[in-house]
């Protein structure tokens, strides 16, 4: 409170009044004081106002109960008298002081004196006249000030500067004047709500004449717009001038009406034109960078000189004209390129900009989705690219994931859209992707694949599982995976048991135990076979030690777990047959009631062979073995003889001979030479065989077989699907007894885990009707009844 009092007594109130905010606050406080002092009517008459506030405040605080002291103070007072011409003389003094201020001349009176004079006049009921006089004085001055501009025809910038000077001096003068007439403000103005304070009066007058002379006003506004335009075009402009004049408009409360609208309109015009033009001229990334720059600039503008209330509309206008209007154009013209070239920085910017405008992200997401579908389709659909398809898919997925994570801020909408798009395009080509993924896994899990460490392999498998998840026909994958797994297990080519198990557990997690039970069965078979072989060896040692030491390993495969192999009857050497019989006896004695069937197609042997150059070990298939063993009897055999002696199927035998006589390691010589095996060909033992390795693996020729195998596998999958559909229909019908066609179809689509067309389902339904598993309702052909 003491601070407050001292401030009133401060001879130079100018500094304080620099901030209208604070002055307002002070005024409020004073208001409170006045209201309080209203309680005692004679206090108004008191001349010694500098005491009033302090003392009375203290008094009032304690004056809940009146004290005797109050009376004593009252008696101190004597009514001061003023001279009769006090009014005129004082006003003369005051007016001359005001005019001096207005003309920036030195003041001949002390401010203190003037201040007190005003105080005296106020306390002697001359306030209203004083106010009127002051009003006229200021009015005249402001009018003449503004009217000066009417006739001025100077350069715009100069005009603005002058205007600014006028405004600045007006403010300064008003502050000064207000300082002098502070008492007027505090007493008279406050008591009469209809009268505005001296400062406001100054503003009102300024506004009045400013508005009155539209020419002046337009010139100012146009000048401002011109400056801003210049700045937008890259010129340096006087920001302080801009700021000051805009503050003026704000203070005059015509910022909105006179300036903002026009400003926004010109902004809109400018950026509409710029957007159109640059969209044509610039590449999308450049365009985006430009938009970003523009938005940044406009933000700066708001920060530096515009009123902050303009910000929303201004930025919105820029966004609208530069972005919203061009969303489709930008996406069509540039998104694909950005995604293809993996330009993360530009994509981030794109996302950030699009997130500013309405529907921007939806559109972006939409275009992103379309891009993935289009791009993915080209990867998947072309049969020529089958070899690299899976790797490409993995890379593509990585790239897209990366973009979503680093550019699209992991927006869920985008990652979901990504998944949806992948699922969509992968299933554009039925079955093949599933098959290729299975084969890809096989190539990674097969032994001899040293390119990856365990951890890398694990990570790769995880990625593959992501692709796998998108596939609709998982049964196709299973069929091929199973076939390849069987090969890996039987030939002992699996790279690592851990990796196999881990893949299996992933599949199980993804598709449930039903999906993997057969695959697990295969692993179990392999383990059981190991035990059986150990037991069998012991059995042999004990019971028939006299047998020639032929090392035999048998894998017992449970039918149903493994892919089906066509049984082939071939003529085995007596030795082998004997072993087979012993094993059969041994096995059946342990497991009564089982049936053993030998699968010669899957067998492989290690043979010891003596050539001129020395002894070698040949790792060959059972069929190759049978052929080679014939050459123990004689060095040369005809094709027909070999065929009769081994009883191998014709095509298979030809391939086998090809591998032995036409491949890399030729242990036989074909007469005559040539690639194809003819009926009259003869084969001779190649005693001159040389090879730097001791143990040589002679591969079967399989090219042809794989396509056949593949077809067969596919065929089997389709067959299985038919059975599954039939089973599902019967299961549903058995439960429901009667069901309408559409409900049955939708329930089927829910149950079946592979893609089916409704027309396929219809065929199966008709087939079941034909086979009397169900019937069409006699009266309602849209309804089916279960036939028990």
């Amino acid at each position: 409170m003491s601070r407050h009092v001292s401030k009133i007594g401060d001879p130079s109130p100018l500094k304080r009044l620099d901030e209208p905010q604070i002055s307002k606050k002070i005024r409020l406080e004073i208001e409170v004081d006045e209201n309080m002092s209203d309680n005692s009517p004679d206090r108004n008459r008191r001349a010694n106002f500098s005491n009033v506030n302090g003392v009375n405040r203290n008094l009032n605080i304690h004056s809940v109960k009146p004290t005797t002291k109050k009376l004593i103070i009252k008696n101190f007072k004597s009514e001061p008298k003023l001279p009769d011409d006090y009014n005129e003389t004082t006003w003369k003094k005051l007016s001359s002081a005001v005019i001096a201020i207005q003309q920036s001349k030195p003041n001949e009176y002390l401010l203190e004196e003037l201040y007190q004079a005003v105080g005296n006049m106020c306390s002697h009921k001359m306030a209203s006249e004083l106010y009127k006089n002051l009003f006229e004085l200021i009015d005249a001055h402001v009018r003449s000030n503004i009217e000066k501009f009417k006739t001025e025809t100077m350069d715009r910038l100069l005009f603005l500067k002058k205007m600014n000077d006028t405004w600045q001096s007006h403010c300064n003068q008003m502050i000064m004047i207000r300082g002098i007439f502070l008492c007027l403000d505090r007493t008279y103005v406050l008591q009469n709500p209809n009268i505005s304070s001296i400062w406001d009066m100054g503003l009102d007058l300024f506004r009045k004449y400013f508005m009155l002379h539209t020419l002046v006003q337009t010139r100012v506004v146009e000048g401002l717009l011109m400056l801003i335009e210049q700045e937008r075009q890259g010129d340096k402009v006087d920001r302080i001038l801009l700021k000051s004049l805009l503050r003026m408009l704000t203070d005059l409360q015509i910022y909105n009406k006179a300036f903002e609208q026009k400003f926004l309109q010109s902004t809109e015009r400018l950026y509409a034109a710029e957007g159109q033009r640059l969209m044509q001229e610039l590449e999308v990334p450049e365009f985006l960078a430009h938009v970003d720059k523009r938005i940044h600039e406009e933000n700066e503008r708001v920060l530096h000189y515009l009123d902050s209330s303009t910000k929303y509309q201004l930025i919105h206008t820029v966004e609208k004209q530069l972005l919203s209007e061009h969303i489709n154009n930008i996406l069509q013209k540039g998104l694909d390129n950005l995604l293809e070239e993996n330009r993360l920085h530009d994509l981030s910017l794109l996302y950030q900009l699009f997130s500013r405008v309405k529907n921007g992200l939806q559109e972006l997401c939409h275009a992103f989705n379309a891009f993935i579908k289009k791009q993915g389709r080209t990867i998947v659909i072309d049969p020529e690219k089958d070899k690299t398809m899976v790797q490409e898919l993995l890379d593509f997925k990585d790239a897209m994931d990366n973009i979503v994570a680093s550019c699209f801020k992991k927006n869920e909408m985008f990652s979901n859209s990504l998944k949806e798009a992948f699922e969509h395009f992968i299933n554009q080509r039925t079955n093949k992707p599933a098959e290729l993924i299975a084969k890809f896994v096989d190539s990674k899990l097969r032994a001899g694949n040293k390119e990856a460490t365990e951890e890398e392999l694990e990570r790769l498998l995880d990625k593959i599982m992501v692709l796998f998840r998108f596939i609709h026909g998982k049964d196709v994958f299973e069929a091929f995976y199973k076939k390849d797994l069987a090969k890996r297990l039987l030939v002992g080519k699996s790279a690592s048991v851990d990796a196999e198990k881990s893949m299996l557990s992933k599949l199980k997690q993804e598709c449930g135990g039903g999906f993997t039970s057969k695959l697990e069965g295969m692993f179990k078979d392999m383990e059981l076979s190991k035990d059986i072989n150990v037991a069998f060896k012991q059995h042999l040692n004990i019971n028939t030690p006299e047998l020639m030491p032929l090392d035999m390993t048998v894998n017992i495969l449970t039918m149903g777990y493994w892919p089906t192999y066509l049984p082939m009857d071939v003529t085995l050497p007596a030795q082998m047959v004997k072993f087979q019989d012993i094993f059969k006896e041994f096995y059946l004695s342990k497991h009564n009631g089982r049936k053993l069937q030998w699968q010669p197609t899957l067998g492989h042997c290690v043979l010891k062979a003596r050539f001129k150059a020395g002894q070698k070990e040949l790792v060959v298939s059972l069929f190759q073995t049978l052929v080679i063993l014939l050459f123990n009897e004689s060095d040369e055999h005809g094709f027909e003889y070999i065929k009769a002696a081994t009883n191998i199927e014709d095509g298979e035998l030809r391939r086998t001979l090809q591998s032995l006589a036409c491949g890399k390691a030729r242990v036989l010589n074909k007469i005559p030479k040539g690639r194809e095996i003819e009926d009259n060909d003869k084969f001779k033992f190649n005693n001159d065989f040389v090879n730097k390795l001791f143990r040589i693996k002679i591969n079967q020729i399989q090219m042809k077989e794989t396509t056949e195998e593949q077809k067969a596998t596919e065929e089997r999958v389709f067959q299985d699907r038919q059975y599954q559909i039939d089973a599902a229909i019967v299961r549903i019908m058995k439960m429901r007894k009667t069901l309408s066609h559409n409900l049955l179809i939708s329930e089927l689509l829910g149950q079946l885990k592979f893609p089916v067309k409704p027309s396929d389902l219809k065929k199966r339904i008709e087939s079941l009707i034909d086979r009397d598993y169900m019937e069409r309702d006699k009266d309602n052909s849209n309804q089916y009844n279960y036939v028990a």
């Binding site: 219809k762 052909s781 849209n782 089916y784």
Partner: protein, 239 residues
Amino acid sequence: MPRSKRRSTTDMSSNEDDRYASKRLRNSSSRRVSRVEEAQSFSQKRCLAWFREYTTPDDPDTLGPEGMEKFCEDIGVEPENVVMLVLAFKMQARQMGFFTKEEWLKGLGEMQCDSIQKLQYRLDYLRCLLNDQNIFKAIYRYAYDFARDKDQRSMDMETAKAMLQLLLGKHWALYTQFSQFLDQSKYKVINKDQWCNILEFSRTIYNDLSNYDVDGAWPVMLDEFVEWLKTSRAKAAIS
């Protein structure tokens, strides 16, 4: 002869229901009233005698193809006339081209016909039966089992087309197109479900196919027919 006659009566009493028994009673009593009435009223015996006119001594209880020809001639109807199908339906004859004694007696007994003349009078009535929607449906369904080769589950295409021509040829505007569709299709036989749905289709689907629902329960054959018809119409529209 007498042996078979006796057996037929036992058959009757064991097989036929009370209604027949009472009819027989009424017949025997009416015989006593007057000869004129007797000629008009139904006689089991006369009916059987009439049946025997068409059978051979080798197989006295079955009316074979040759007898059928003569029978048709006698009543003045071509064998391929649709009335013959209705008659067979009345008799619930099991096999096209054959009537057994039981079928004959049941069907003609129901219609109270024991002579050529009486049956000829009833022919118009039989034709009228075709106009009743429900009876027509029953006849249509019956026709499938009647015409089908009993060794096979399905009806071969030639028979099927002939039967469709007979039953739907006049009433179904799309019959000609359907027949063309069958000619070019891979179908060799028609199963009962397809057969029954063809009737439904002919009754409910407009000629412009506008109310056909591809996702409905129609057999695939009809889906294909609609598809085929639409494309051939589109082609026609272009050229």
